[in-house]
């Protein structure tokens, strides 16, 4: 399967994707409003040659899409020469098969950078490893600080409902607190990718 102009044109714009979301629309907008762009990231993206295309594989139900696609969206707003097209993963599994996470997982979002002639320049998948690692560390801290939460590996349905609800609130707070770090890490990885592929 090759990506060509006809296929490219079947993708929808970032704004069209936002408008078509059937869930998480408010959360997505909130995340977008929380993105603070690093000037160096913007500078590097502006230095890309005109005509760079970014293919995005996404679905509106996916937490990583809702968290990370707004970062790319904000960058595209700052660098209007970027041509971003979103393809829904579940309707484009042939595309998904090309950029599997670790060669086997259909993780999203996927951002694939192409030059104007559809030659791939590089790609980015799901979320930074540093975010996964930090989240795991913070999770372990929460469980260590609250023995009533039991083991992090135990099924949560075994917890009394009030305890489970408190755990849920702690985890949500941890994720919220981590948004600035996560957004910065997404930008760092995209910056690294762009600096490697700059033509």
């Amino acid at each position: 399967m090759t990506l060509d102009r006809a296929r490219w044109d079947k993708g929808i714009t970032y704004d069209a994707f936002k408008g078509a979301m059937t869930r998480n629309q408010e959360r997505f907008a909130q995340n977008e409003s929380r993105v603070t762009l690093d000037p160096e990231t913007v500078r590097q993206f502006r230095s890309l040659p005109e005509g760079v295309r970014i293919l995005v594989l996404a679905e509106d139900w996916c937490g990583d899409v809702v968290a990370n696609l707004p970062v790319l969206g904000r960058l595209a707003q700052e660098v209007p020469t970027l041509d971003v097209r979103v393809f829904l993963r579940d309707q484009n599994l042939d595309l998904m098969e090309r950029w599997l996470n670790q060669g086997k997982y259909q993780s999203i979002p996927v951002f694939v950078f192409f030059d104007r002639d559809f030659r791939e320049l590089g790609h980015w998948i799901e979320r930074p490893a540093s975010v996964t690692e930090r989240r795991a560390q913070e999770r372990r801290k929460i469980f260590a600080a609250h023995p009533e939460f039991g083991s992090p590996d135990a099924p949560v349905d075994q917890l009394p409902e009030d305890v489970r609800t408190r755990l849920q609130a702690e985890l949500q707070k941890m994720r919220d607190d981590m948004v600035p770090f996560a957004n910065a890490e997404v930008q760092r990885e995209l910056r690294d990718l762009v600096s490697r592929v700059a033509v």
Partner: protein
């Protein structure tokens, strides 16, 4: 075998979009067992979770067993708990 209606808990990763699988399983259990089930609790969670327990016994865990449960596996666990024959 208790003979009493059983309680089922389905914990699914809301961030991963596992709602369809949770709802499909819920519906299948409702249709199969009706009032033989005391309650089905659906718990939105995170971290790629899809766990099913029947009266506190974990009968499927995505982390432990991989993937989503076969509906037949969960139905079998419920059936053995309540001691009923399969619906014809």
């Amino acid at each position: 075998v208790t003979g009493k209606p059983v309680k089922v808990k389905i914990t699914y990763c809301a961030e991963c979009g596992y709602e369809p699988q949770a709802l499909d399983l819920t519906k299948a259990l409702m249709y199969e067992f009706g009032t033989q089930i005391a309650a089905i609790e659906i718990i939105p969670w995170e971290s790629g979770t899809f766990d099913v327990s029947v009266d506190g016994e974990l009968v499927h865990s995505m982390r432990r067993d991989g993937g989503f449960p076969q509906q037949a596996t969960v139905k079998s666990a419920v059936r053995s708990r309540i001691g009923s024959a399969p619906a014809v």
